[in-house]
């Protein structure tokens, strides 16, 4: 269970300063607030045949964009910290499968991202006066979407940490690969916020689960090639 040790090391280091976590939460909040301003005054028009305001239709997308951007911050930190002081070489010397490093990083990134999301969600609900009809369903959708994001994001962040333009390269290569997650998560979140049930979002959940499984398995096989030298 070496990956638990690696995750514990990362989380311990993070919780000493909580610097990254704070930045992620504040960034997510800022994104949500800026979006709600950017859509302007007309966005509060009530659309009668959909029984919602325009801005309520756009809100799930805003939420996921906030999560994605803030998650990107967290991801870029996860391997960048290992580059200094040769920590990555130290990790590679562990008598463990290289994929344990991947699992440990995934676990620590996932924990941090969930914390960020749980901190952002209440504020989102308050800002848009939402009444979450299906909270367990919403939590499940957020968990599946976040896992998809983290599985691919950790692998690609290990890939880009060795390059020159790592700050801009990670978002650029991550977004196209992440499109199924964002599409499915946004629609499923919208349904859950309205009045949905699990059966309404069965298709999206299937896509999210399939995506998560496939990329987790592929990453196990391919991760060692990203950090070897």
């Amino acid at each position: 269970m070496k990956f638990l040790q690696i995750a514990k090391k990362d989380l311990k280091a993070e919780f000493r300063t909580k610097q990254m976590l704070n930045s992620m939460v504040i960034f997510a909040l800022l994104v949500i607030v800026i979006f709600s301003f950017a859509f302007g005054n007309e966005a509060t028009i009530f659309v009668s045949n959909l029984n919602k305001k325009i801005i309520d239709l756009l809100a799930p997308g805003m939420l996921w964009i906030a999560f994605t951007f803030a998650g990107m911050l967290g991801l870029s930190r996860s391997f960048a910290g290992e580059k200094e002081e040769g920590c990555l070489e130290g990790l590679k010397l562990c008598p463990a499968d290289r994929s344990e490093i991947y699992n440990g990083k995934v676990l620590s990134n996932a924990v941090l991202m969930f914390l960020m999301e749980m901190a952002t969600l209440p504020i989102f609900v308050v800002l848009f006066s939402y009444d979450i009809k299906n909270l367990p369903g919403l939590i499940v959708v957020i968990i599946l979407g976040t896992l998809g994001f983290i599985f691919v994001g950790t692998l690609l962040s290990a890939l880009t940490v060795n390059t020159r333009t790592r700050e801009i390269l990670l978002p650029v290569i991550l977004f196209p690969v992440l499109i199924p997650v964002i599409l499915s998560a946004v629609t499923a979140t919208g349904t859950m916020l309205a009045n949905g049930d699990f059966s309404d979002v069965a298709g999206e959940m299937q896509i999210l689960v399939v995506y998560d499984i496939i990329f987790f398995v592929v990453a196990q096989m391919v991760f060692e090639y990203t950090i070897e030298d």
């Binding site: 692998l155 890939l159 499915s184 990329f215 990203t226």
Partner: protein, 240 residues
């Protein structure tokens, strides 16, 4: 040595056949091919169907190029031979150009037939766009790394990840578009019916022309890479 010169001769034949075939196919499409649509029922100018003869082979060539990237990425990671990396690079560059052409020809056709350059939730449009973006990112990764071995390894990893995400993207966009029946007025009414009869022959000639074009471009690009390697080798030798 003998196999080397046979290979070179085959390559030269390929380089000659390709432009000839393309010229023949362009002539056929513009002057001889019939349009299997009733002009009264066609959307827009009936002649715009001829774009189909370009559009479909270019799209299939792009998808095939990306499949080649996937396969040669896997082969590179297993064997670490330089030639697979060169093949990945060539196929990715050719694929990006062809994917861009797919989008452009599709938009032109759409402008004529549907009066809109882009329709929001059509599956094939969005899948082609995602494909184009993924392989553009592949090329960006290659640009961002200097050392050849690291560059080959990292871009091989991304080649695998990128290709695997394409079927999943297709499924998710298809699901999403089923949920969104056409909201924007010019609604495309699904793909064309079966292509039969004499049109099929012209289509096959075009397929052959564009596949050979893609293959020619890939071979030329690979030769280019080999020469670059040789030049670097000579530079290294002469510096020490």
């Amino acid at each position: 040595m003998r196999t080397n010169s046979v290979y070179n001769m085959l390559k030269k034949i390929l380089y000659v056949i390709t432009p000839v075939l393309i010229l023949i196919s362009v002539y056929l499409v513009f002057f001889i091919a019939p349009i299997p649509i009733d002009p009264g029922a066609a959307a827009g100018d009936p002649n715009n169907f001829k774009i189909f003869f370009f559009h479909l082979p270019i799209a299939i060539s792009a998808y095939l190029s990306f499949a080649i990237v996937f396969v040669s990425s896997i082969l590179y990671l297993r064997s670490k031979k330089q030639k697979w990396d060169m093949l990945s690079l060539s196929a990715a560059e050719v694929g990006v150009v062809f994917a861009f052409l797919t989008l452009v020809t599709g938009s032109i056709w759409g402008r004529s037939a549907w009066n809109a350059y882009w329709v929001s939730w059509d599956v094939r449009l969005n899948t082609s766009l995602i494909l184009f973006l993924i392989y553009l990112s592949y090329l960006m990764i290659r640009q961002a790394v200097e050392e050849p071995e690291k560059r080959a390894r990292l871009s091989a990893v991304f080649g695998i990840i990128g290709f695997i995400s394409v079927p999943i993207s297709f499924l998710s966009v298809r699901f999403y578009s089923k949920m969104h029946p056409c909201v924007v007025p010019p609604c495309p009414s699904g793909g064309g019916g079966g292509i039969g009869g004499v049109v099929l022959y012209y289509l096959l000639i075009n397929f052959a022309a564009y596949f050979l074009l893609a293959a020619t471009l890939m071979m030329l690009r690979m030769d280019n890479e080999r020469l670059k390697e040789k030049a670097n080798e000579l530079k290294r030798i002469n510096n020490f």
